[in-house]
C-alpha cells in the first residue's frame, strides 16, 4: 500500500492578522507559519499505519507552496514520512483551492497511491475544498471529517467513522480512497531534533509548473475564484458587565437575555 499525505502550511493560530493597505491580502511578513493542525492528524495517521501494518510500502508527503513551505514538509518527514514532493512555482500561488486540487491530481495520478490522507480543512482560509475535490478529480471515494480509521486485514478496504451533526457515520470504503482528518483521528507526535536533522536527508522532489505536464489544461476549466477586499471582523459593541453577588447577577442576566437581547 502506498500512502500520500497532503500537507499545507498556514499562519499559526495565534497570529495577529493585519490587513494590507488596499485590502488585497493580509500582511505576510513576519507571520509564523506552521503545519495546518488538521494535516498533523493526517500525517500521524499515515505514519502509524506504516508502523502497524506490514503492507504499507511508503508514505509520501506532498506540499504546494513557496520555498519556505519546505519547512512543513520537513516536519512530515521527521514524523515519519519517507519522501516528499514539493510543488513550487509562482504560478501555483495564484490557484484557488479547486485548481490546487487539479494541480495535485495531475501530479499524483498514476502514482499508484492507495490511500491519500489530508486535513479536513486549512485553518487560514477554512475552505475545506481540497480533499473532496482531489478525490473527485482522481475518481476515488473519499470520507470527510474522519475521526477513526480501521483497516480490513487484507488491506483492501477500511471502515471509517466520520463526524456529522450529533452523530457519526460508519462507512466502509474500498481502496484506493481519500480520507480527510478531523480532530480525534490522532494527535501528531512531536518531531524530535535528531529526526528533524535526519529529515533533511530524505529525498524531496521539487516540481515547477513546467515539470507538470497538462498543468495549464487541468486548471483551466474549474475554480478560479478571486479573493479581494479583506476586512477586519465587524466590531462588536462593548459588552455589559453585570455587577453584584452571584445570585442577583444571575437573575439580572436572565432578565436582560429575555427582555433586552430577546434570545431566551
Amino acid at each position: 500500500m502506498k500512502v500520500l499525505v497532503v500537507v499545507r502550511q498556514v499562519p499559526d493560530s495565534t497570529t495577529n492578522i493585519k490587513i494590507q493597505a488596499g485590502g488585497q491580502d493580509i500582511e505576510r511578513a513576519g507571520v509564523k507559519m506552521v503545519v495546518n493542525p488538521f494535516d498533523e492528524f493526517a500525517i500521524e495517521q499515515a505514519v502509524q499505519l506504516k508502523e502497524k501494518r506490514k503492507d504499507v510500502a511508503s508514505v509520501t508527503a506532498l506540499i504546494v507552496g513557496p520555498a519556505t513551505a519546505a519547512e512543513a514538509l520537513r516536519i512530515a518527514l521527521a514524523v515519519g514520512a519517507d519522501d516528499g514532493i514539493h510543488l513550487q512555482d509562482e504560478a501555483f500561488d495564484r490557484l484557488d483551492e479547486l485548481q490546487t486540487a487539479a494541480l495535485i491530481a495531475t501530479v499524483v495520478r498514476g502514482g499508484g497511491y492507495d490511500l491519500i490522507l489530508i486535513g479536513k480543512q486549512e485553518i487560514d482560509l477554512d475552505s475545506g475544498q481540497l480533499g473532496p475535490a482531489l478525490a473527485e478529480l482522481l475518481d476515488i471515494p473519499h470520507v470527510g471529517t474522519t475521526v477513526k480509521l480501521e483497516f480490513a486485514a487484507d488491506g483492501k478496504s477500511f471502515v471509517a467513522r466520520r463526524r456529522i451533526e450529533g452523530a457519526e457515520e460508519v462507512v466502509q470504503v474500498s481502496l484506493p480512497a481519500l480520507v480527510t482528518a478531523d480532530k480525534g483521528l490522532c494527535e501528531m507526535r512531536y518531531p524530535s531534533l535528531p529526526n528533524l536533522m535526519k529529515a533533511k536527508k530524505k529525498p524531496v522532489k521539487v516540481f515547477k509548473a513546467a515539470d507538470v505536464a497538462g498543468f495549464a489544461a487541468a486548471v483551466a476549466n474549474l475554480g478560479g475564484v478571486k479573493m479581494h477586499a479583506f476586512q477586519p471582523p465587524p466590531e462588536r459593541p462593548p459588552g455589559k458587565m453585570i455587577p453584584g453577588e452571584p445570585e442577583p447577577a444571575a437573575k439580572e442576566l436572565a432578565r436582560l437575555l429575555r427582555e433586552e437581547a430577546k434570545v431566551i
Binding site: 477554512d126 475545506g128 473527485e136 471515494p141 470520507v143 470527510g144 457515520e169 476549466n221 462588536r236 437581547a261
Partner: protein, 327 residues
C-alpha cells in the same frame, strides 16, 4: 447557464436540515437579481415531508432524486445525483448549507461539473456583470473577504447556518422527479450505520442556544450544572478543548478551531478563558455571554453580557431564574 438559483435542500430521514430553509432566503434575493427562479433539489430515500416543507418557503420549482440507494448520505452517490440535477437545471448559482454534508458534497460536485466554489459564505450578491460576489470569514474569523467568481461557469457557495432567517411564504412549486442513475463505482462507499454521538442531548451544530463549559468545571460530574441550564434553555452543551482533553466532555462537543464552528443565537461561555482558538469557533454567535471568575479573562472582550464570578454559584442561580421566568 440559465438565470436560475439551485438550492440543495439537505435532509436526513425525510427531515430537512434547518439550514435548508435558511438558504432559500438569499437564493430568492439572488433570483430577483438574475431574473430566474429558485429551484430546490432534494436527494434521498423516501422524500415526502421534506418536499412539503421546502414548498412552504416559496421556491419556484422542486426537483427530487429519490432512490433506496440514496437513503443515507454517500459522497459518491449524492455527487452523481446532484451533478445530474445541475446538468438538467443549468443554474447560474448553486447554494448548499455549510453543514457537514454541504461542505463534503460541495467541492466534489464543483470539481465534477467544472464550477467555482466558495465555502462558509455569510453574504451574497449579484454584481453588475451578473456574477456572484460573496463575503466569507477567513483566518478563523479574524478577518473577512470578498470572493469574486468567474463569469463563464456555475458558482457554487456553501452558506453558513444561522446566517439567514428561514424563508417562508409559498406553496405550489412545480415538481419534477429525476431518476438516480448510478455512475460506475458509486457503490465504493457503503454507509453501515449512523451512530448517535454524545448522548441524547442536541449537538452544538444543531442548536440555537449553546451553554459551553471550560477547564474550570474540573470534572465530568460537575458538568451536570451546565447540562441543567442547557435543559432549561433547550440548548446544546459545548466545551473548550481543555475540558475535552481532560475528559470532562467528548470531543464531539468541542467548540473552536479544531472543534466545531458554531453560530447560535446565544452562546454562554462558562469558565472558558477565551483563547484565540476557542474564539475561532464561536465568535460568529449573535449574543455572547461570559461567566468567569477572572475579570481579565479575554472572553469578556467579546462578550455582550458578562458576570465576573464563580460559575458554581452563578449557573445554578441562572437555571433557577430561567425556570421561574418560563413559568
Amino acid at each position: 447557464m440559465t438565470n436560475d438559483i439551485l438550492v440543495f435542500a439537505e435532509q436526513r430521514n425525510d427531515k430537512l436540515h434547518p439550514a435548508a430553509l435558511q438558504i432559500v432566503t438569499p437564493a430568492k434575493e439572488l433570483a430577483a437579481r438574475t431574473g430566474g427562479k429558485v429551484v430546490a433539489c432534494l436527494i434521498g430515500g423516501a422524500l415526502n415531508a421534506a418536499v412539503e416543507a421546502i414548498d412552504k418557503t416559496g421556491v419556484g420549482a422542486i426537483v427530487t432524486v429519490s432512490a433506496p440507494a440514496l437513503a443515507n448520505y454517500s459522497a459518491l452517490r449524492y455527487r452523481t445525483a446532484l451533478a445530474a440535477v445541475i446538468g438538467k437545471v443549468q443554474p447560474r448559482v448553486v447554494l448548499l448549507p455549510a453543514t457537514f454534508m454541504g461542505r463534503d458534497l460541495g467541492p466534489r460536485v464543483a470539481a465534477k461539473v467544472g464550477a467555482a466554489l466558495a465555502t462558509d459564505v455569510v453574504a451574497l450578491s449579484i454584481n453588475a456583470e451578473g456574477t456572484l460576489d460573496i463575503t466569507r470569514p477567513v483566518y478563523n474569523g479574524k478577518a473577512s473577504c470578498h470572493v469574486g467568481f468567474p463569469k463563464d461557469r456555475p458558482a457554487v457557495a456553501s452558506v453558513r447556518p444561522n446566517t439567514f432567517p428561514a424563508a417562508t411564504g409559498g406553496g405550489g412549486a412545480t415538481r419534477e422527479a429525476l431518476a438516480y442513475t448510478p455512475a460506475p463505482g458509486d457503490d465504493r462507499i457503503d454507509v453501515k450505520e449512523v451512530a448517535k454521538a454524545g448522548g441524547e442531548v442536541k449537538d452544538v451544530t444543531e442548536a440555537d442556544i449553546i451553554v459551553s463549559g471550560g477547564r474550570a468545571l474540573k470534572s465530568e460530574e460537575n458538568f451536570k450544572i451546565v447540562y441543567e441550564l442547557a435543559k432549561e434553555l433547550d440548548a446544546a452543551v459545548g466545551a473548550s478543548r481543555a475540558a475535552c482533553d481532560a475528559g470532562y466532555q467528548p470531543h464531539s462537543r468541542q467548540v473552536g478551531l479544531t472543534g466545531k464552528t458554531v453560530t447560535p443565537r446565544l452562546y454562554i461561555a462558562c469558565g472558558i478563558s477565551g483563547a484565540i482558538q476557542h474564539l475561532a469557533g464561536m465568535r460568529g454567535s449573535k449574543v455572547i455571554v461570559a461567566i468567569n471568575s477572572d475579570k481579565e479573562a479575554p472572553i469578556f472582550k467579546l462578550a455582550d453580557y458578562g458576570i465576573v464570578g464563580d460559575l458554581f454559584k452563578v449557573l445554578p442561580a441562572m437555571t433557577a431564574e430561567v425556570r421561574r421566568l418560563k413559568g
